[in-house]
């Protein structure tokens, strides 16, 4: 333990550990500028939770920042483009659907689009009037062209990726290019200083690994923060019931089958099914509440879903992998000289794919706010804890919104989800407010909100929420501005549909050709 913060020790590999290592090492130019050391200790026996995962568009900035090529990333992580999510059956449990695209509404922040939408275009789904992206998804288009530079977008996008390959991909880059020291060994013991700070992790073959700052990326086991410091998990199960998942890998019916460029989230009797398209296969999973459904029932529903999209034989051959989790987050995320990132910090159901985004936000803040000395750490830790408690609370509320707005009554699961006792009070208050005004920056005023007001608009209006009629009249200027925005969105859709290739066509192309950096 030295007064200067020089040695960062990351415990645990996987996406969280390697993203944290990559961001910190790249920001601090470790191989070129002496001063900071980053060591990642990873147990060879612990296999990371490698289900197909969705990201947010922020991942493009993160990967560029770490310095990897997008073409390499797409090739090596079986990655595909994601332009948003399509929610099926969430409102009434029928064939209805709505989109939550990554593009902000055209004119977002400049005009109130909601009032003119309802007055003149109420028959058109909100997302489809203010954004062309639902149309791009429906038509299976890629979000960019072969001539678009790496990480640049024609339509805003994120990725679907194979998490089992993502960690090793980042590991190769971090160790070969960014000067991260990689120790493949078991942590057998944790050594603390007299003042309670962590001094070192002790490994089987590599001995003591001392550090000034420890980053706990040990997954659900939360070895440092949860086990060593005993920081309790704040459970969110009373609000979000899901605590189990069954995941499978589904082959495409044919080598040239279309790849959806959005996550398909289909509501079920006591949970929902994710369906994400990678290049070589689909990742499909059923996340559900064990209090409302048995594993056998969940598995049957999952097989029925897969069979409907492929055939009975494919569905019968699947071997689902079971995951159990306690939805929640640690009461404190940065304790003394230890901060948790990823599953070690918390986990809720993957609805809206916030897990990796929270890792990116965490890694970025740790890197940018890395305290120069131990004395400064308390200030940074307090700030970090406040920022991430805020984010976890907002994430919880946003996910809850998807259940709260449902009108499904086909199972106790959906009915109980609407019980007042399960609704976070802040969300209940906002919902009242939104009966009279659309979600806006006044509701989410931080610079880096985890979900912007636009996301709330997409979900609210996508799920049939309508404001009270007789709301305050809008200005003449707004009506004209909104019409212009709607026309712009339509025109953009037309030109993008004409110019964008099929999602699979672009992904296939990237196997032979690289995207340019400029």
């Amino acid at each position: 333990m030295s007064e200067q913060i020089r040695r960062v020790v990351i415990v645990g590999g996987g996406s969280a550990g390697w993203l944290a290592a990559g961001v910190i090492a790249a920001d601090h130019q470790i191989p070129r500028v002496p001063g900071l050391e980053v060591t990642l200790v990873e147990s060879p026996a612990v296999s990371p939770i490698g289900v197909g995962e969705g990201t947010w568009p922020s991942m493009r900035d993160t990967l560029r920042r770490i310095g990897v090529s997008e073409t390499d990333f797409i090739r090596e992580c079986d990655a595909a483009f994601k332009q948003g999510s399509r929610f099926g059956g969430w409102t009434d449990g029928g064939g209805e659907h709505y989109y939550h695209p990554f593009s902000l509404p055209q004119g977002y922040g400049e005009a109130n689009l909601v009032t003119p939408w309802l007055r003149e275009h109420g028959a058109v789904p909100f997302a489809e009037l203010v954004s062309c992206q639902p149309q791009l998804c429906e038509r299976g288009r890629a979000p960019k062209q072969v001539t678009t530079p790496e990480y640049a977008a024609v339509a805003n996008y994120a990725y679907h990726l194979d998490a089992g390959r993502f960690g090793p991909f980042l590991q190769r880059h971090c160790t070969a290019r960014l000067g991260v020291r990689h120790v493949l060994d078991h942590v057998t013991r944790i050594e603390a200083c007299d003042n309670g700070d962590l001094a070192a992790v002790v490994t089987g073959a590599h001995g003591r690994i001392e550090g000034d700052l420890f980053i706990d990326c040990t997954g659900f086991s939360s070895l440092l923060l949860g086990q060593h410091y005993g920081v309790p998990l704040v459970t969110v199960q009373p609000q979000l019931f899901n605590d189990s998942a069954l995941a499978v890998q589904v082959p495409y019916a044919a080598a040239d089958a279309p790849i959806a460029s959005h996550t398909i989230a289909t509501a079920c009797a006591a949970g929902w099914i994710w369906d994400i398209g990678l290049q070589s296969r689909r990742g499909v999973g059923h996340v559900y509440s064990s209090a409302h459904m048995t594993d056998e029932q969940a598995e049957r529903i999952l097989r029925e879903y897969v069979a409907a999209g492929t055939d009975a034989r494919t569905a019968a051959a699947l071997a689902p992998r079971k995951l159990s989790f306690r939805p929640g987050y640690r009461a404190s995320l940065w304790q003394r000289n230890c901060v948790a990132v990823g599953l070690a910090a918390g986990f809720v159901e993957p609805l809206e794919a916030s897990a990796l985004a929270l890792v990116e936000f965490s890694a970025t803040m740790i890197s940018e706010q890395l305290p120069a000395t131990r004395a400064l750490m308390e200030t940074v830790a307090a700030r970090f804890n406040e920022a991430f408690r805020y984010r976890w609370e907002r994430a919880l509320e946003f996910l809850k919104l998807h259940y709260l707005l449902s009108r499904r009554s086909d199972s106790p699961y959906w009915i109980e989800h609407r019980a007042a006792a399960t609704v976070p009070p802040r969300l209940a208050g906002l919902l009242e407010l939104w009966r009279h005004q659309p979600p806006s920056r006044y509701d989410f005023h931080r610079i880096e909100e985890i979900f912007p007001a636009a996301s709330y608009q997409y979900v609210l209006y996508g799920m049939g929420f309508r404001p009270e009629s007789g709301a305050r009249p809008e200005s003449v200027q707004n009506a004209a501005l909104a019409q212009r925005c709607f026309a712009e969105a339509a025109a953009l859709g037309k030109s993008m549909l004409a110019a964008l290739p099929a999602n699979r066509a672009l992904l296939n192309h990237l196997q032979s050709y690289r995207l340019q950096r400029i």
Partner: protein
């Protein structure tokens, strides 16, 4: 539409090729592909720029003739007003096709193909392709060697582009031109050599580029940009 066929001295015995330059023969092109091996000649007449191919996304060098599609400012009543025409234009309506018949178990040499829909083809005027008893005319001989050079040049281009990109020497640019008559043009989606970065290259980088033969063509690209002024003048004169 192009209709490509391998050239042979039986079917195509009577064909002649018009070598005049005019819009009617498809010369009204805004740009044409060029290759580093001819940059010295090209830079004496035209700006050399880079563009991404729409089908592959890969960079290719172009000689620029105008500011908008269909505009070739070098095309006049009396032909093409420049002392050098890029090989990719000069060789038309011929092209290199797939390998010919195998010889000794190896793929044969690439064959000359011809676009049978080209407006340049005639039986009454222009250059003959074959001699009376089937041999190639000097014109066709010259086309053959031109196609060979172009073929090699195209094969050598990716290494040149890669070297430029390796030193981050390519940058995009947008050129807005006011033509004085109220008309404006915008050239976008084009790339050029960043001169500041070229000047800042260290000795090792210069030496490496030189050893690989990329230094000279790189500076030919830099030198070629003076012809933007010439293009603007030509456009002004045309009115």
């Amino acid at each position: 539409m192009a209709r490509h066929a391998p050239l042979n001295n039986v079917e195509h015995k009577a064909l002649r090729v018009v070598t005049q330059r005019a819009a009617a023969y498809g010369d009204d092109q805004m740009y044409a592909l060029t290759v580093p091996a001819e940059f010295r000649n090209v830079q004496s007449c035209y700006p050399i720029v880079f563009q991404k191919r729409a089908d592959t996304g890969q960079f290719q060098p172009l000689a620029l003739f105008g500011f908008e599609a269909g505009e070739n400012l070098f095309l006049t009543e009396s032909g093409w007003d420049a002392h050098y025409i890029p090989m990719s234009v000069e060789r038309l309506p011929f092209l290199i096709g797939g390998p010919g018949a195998p010889q000794d178990g190896k793929p044969g040499p690439p064959m000359i193909h011809i676009d049978l829909d080209s407006p340049r083809l005639s039986t009454t005027e222009g250059e003959a392709l074959f001699l009376e008893y089937g041999g190639s005319t000097p014109f066709l001989e010259r086309i053959g060697s031109l196609l060979g050079s172009l073929h090699e040049g195209i094969a050598a281009t990716p290494a040149f582009i890669e070297a430029l990109q390796g030193h981050e020497l390519l940058e995009s640019f947008v050129l807005d031109v006011e033509h004085g008559d109220g008309a404006t043009s915008r050239l976008a989606g084009l790339y050029t050599v960043n001169e500041d970065r070229a000047r800042a290259l260290d000795g090792a980088a210069v030496s490496q580029l030189h050893a690989q033969g990329h230094l000279e063509p790189m500076y030919m690209v830099v030198a070629s940009t003076v012809h933007f002024r010439d293009l603007i003048e030509r456009r002004k004169r045309r009115g």
